[in-house]
């Protein structure tokens, strides 16, 4: 196996809006954990950062026109071609942010099929933490993604808490989640995105099937 065959790509999709953003901070920590584990497993890692804030207008345009161009098209290709995805959203009004949802809405519905995905969310208090399980996880289940068992929620308090206060909760969850993603990404056989032209049946088959 050559190095390029062993290398893995992790795409981070972060829907934080502020600068700096705690959503992005969580996404980076999750990526660090996944990269460490992948490197321990012998895989060089490339990380693609996708900040949805920068793509907000193109996302709405694509929703209206039906096609993506420019940076948004490149972001979609990065996600589709990755070996693992880290998707992190702020919790807005009890669920994922609208921008976060819109990004997945305009992606090809088959693009995440079998894709290892690590879910993360941020919010003001821990009361929002189950949004990951009742809103974010079903979205990715619907898309046939291979979501890792551990999802990570970070409230404002988690960033300030000492290891003693939290029982090392957040860092430990980040480590575990990153490891789960890395192991799946390491095993992934990436066939690349499906080619609609290659899978088009010949017309004799189409005629026979009608």
């Amino acid at each position: 196996m050559t190095t390029s065959e062993q290398s893995r790509t992790i795409a981070i999709v972060s829907a934080g809006l502020s600068q700096p953003s705690s959503t992005r901070l969580l996404a980076d920590r999750l990526a660090d954990a996944a990269v460490r584990e992948l490197e321990d497993l012998g895989h060089p890692v490339r990380v693609e950062n996708i900040e949805l804030r920068d793509l907000a207008h193109p996302v709405v345009d694509a929703m209206l026109t039906g096609f993506a161009t420019g940076d948004l098209a490149r972001a979609q290709e990065a996600v589709t071609g990755a070996d693992g995805v880290i998707a992190v959203t702020p919790v807005f009004t009890s669920s994922f942010s609208g921008l976060f949802k819109s990004f997945w809405d305009i992606l090809d519905p088959d693009a995440l099929s079998g894709m290892p995905v690590l879910l993360g969310a941020t919010g003001g208090t821990a009361r929002h933490s189950l949004a990951l399980e009742y809103a974010v996880r079903p979205l990715f289940t619907y898309l046939h993604a291979d979501t890792v068992p551990t999802s990570v929620f970070a409230a404002t308090d988690d960033w300030a808490a000492s290891a003693a206060d939290t029982g090392a909760g957040l860092p430990r969850r980040i480590e575990r989640a990153g490891r789960e993603l890395a192991r799946r990404a390491a095993q992934r056989q990436d066939d690349g995105p499906a080619d609609p032209f290659a899978s088009t049946p010949s017309f004799t088959e189409l005629l026979g099937g009608s």
């Binding site: 209206l64 026109t65 096609f67 161009t69 032209f197 088009t200 017309f203 004799t204 189409l206 009608s210």
Partner: protein, 398 residues
């Protein structure tokens, strides 16, 4: 290369005045637009087919039949004829009738239609879109090429000894295009039959169009109709022009910003970069459209959408004048010089060329079937007698 216009027949409020034409005015505008395009020297007028507001073009052959009588040179076509929800028997009859009335100055383009609710209005199901397009078109072709058809399929009642009339003009079916934006299956269908393929790319980036056309060309060659570069290709297009580029931008912007399809979305600056929409001077339109042969190879038909988004009739007619007067002569010269070989068709086949080809290969069908007696009632057509020797078919003479 042929240059023409196509209309989706939308009734849209003019965003600069708030004025909305009624349905009758919009239909009459389309007739005026088509006649004007003929007088200005454009090659093609194609009407859409829609069965729901805000569109008025529900009956293409009625419209095109009238236009056949009042125009001289322009080829009358569709963009598109719904092969999914129309009964292929009616399509065979109506378009053969149009072919006769227009004396062969027509062709048509099959499309699936993308409005889900239309399917049940005509007793069909959108989930069968592709199978309907496949089965219906296979039957339509048989109805045109075979005099007496026995047929059984999935989507309509069987036919026993059925003859569609009038028989195609000179025994040769109209030329057919297939239009599709996203479905490789339709490009495959066009390639299989050696028909034309038009990619209506007006809302799509060129890299997508390029893939679809390349696939159609490869499959055309695979199915043995000629080389890939000899396949018959058409593209959609969209432009708004004034002599001065800035005038075009200022005038078109409110129509763009409020257009039904892309309005309130991307900026006109972005959209003109991402899609074939070109707003500017006639020279800018020439430059942009002259580049498309680099993307898809030499192609035979370029259609422009000019009468949408609430543009007033007067403006549309001015656009046709600019297109026919300033863009087409120069653009044609540039792109035709890029035709890769003499045996790559310059234009889509005309009726006369198809008749000559059919005669050469012995494939022309009958121009009349049966004698003058109605086989179901035994009655005799007016002016004829059973087995009247003056009613022999072309087939019988041959």
């Amino acid at each position: 290369m042929q240059f023409g216009i196509f209309s989706v027949s939308d009734v849209t409020s003019d965003p600069t005045t708030g004025r909305v034409p009624d349905d009758a005015e919009r239909v009459r505008s389309m007739l005026t637009i088509a006649r004007h395009a003929d007088e200005a020297g454009l090659d093609v007028f194609a009407t859409g087919e829609h069965h729901n507001p805000p569109f008025v073009a529900s009956s293409p052959t009625t419209m095109l039949g009238y236009l056949a009588g009042v125009t001289k040179n322009i080829t009358l076509s569709t963009a598109t004829t719904l092969i999914t929800t129309n009964d292929p028997v009616r399509l065979a009859e109506e378009y053969a009738m149009l072919q006769v009335i227009s004396d062969g100055r027509m062709d048509l383009m099959m499309g699936r239609g993308n409005t889900g609710p239309v399917y049940p209005w005509f007793g069909q199901d959108i989930r069968n879109g592709i199978p309907l397009a496949v089965e219906n078109y296979a039957l339509l072709r048989r109805l045109w090429t075979e005099d007496v058809v026995d047929w059984e399929g999935k989507f309509r009642t069987p036919l026993q000894g059925f003859t569609s009339t009038p028989r195609p003009l000179d025994g040769v079916a109209p030329f057919v295009w297939h239009g599709s934006i996203r479905s490789p299956e339709i490009a495959e269908q066009a390639a299989y039959y050696g028909d034309g393929f038009l990619h209506n790319n007006i809302f799509w980036p060129m890299h997508h169009t390029r893939q679809m056309v390349r696939f159609y060309r490869q499959r055309y060659e695979h199915h043995g109709h000629g080389r890939a570069d000899q396949a018959i290709v058409g593209l959609g297009g969209q432009a708004f022009m004034r002599k001065r580029s800035q005038d075009a931008w200022n005038e078109f912007r409110p129509y763009f910003d409020n257009a039904p399809v892309y309005g309130h979305g991307p900026s006109m600056e972005d959209f003109t970069q991402q899609t074939p929409l070109t707003v500017g001077s006639p020279q800018q339109v020439i430059d942009r459209y002259a580049s498309f042969v680099e993307d898809v190879g030499y192609y035979q038909r370029q259609l422009f959408l000019v009468d949408h988004a609430g543009l007033p009739l007067k403006t549309v007619l001015e656009q046709i004048d600019l297109l026919a007067g300033e863009v087409v002569p120069e653009l044609r010269k540039i792109v035709e010089a890029k035709r890769p070989a003499e045996d790559v068709p310059l234009n889509p086949p005309t009726h006369a060329e198809r008749v000559a080809a059919a005669a050469a290969s012995g494939e022309a069908g009958a121009t009349h079937v049966g004698d003058a007696t109605d086989p179901y009632t035994g009655t005799v057509a007016e002016g004829g007698r059973p087995n009247d020797p003056t009613h022999v078919t072309q087939e019988a003479r041959a």
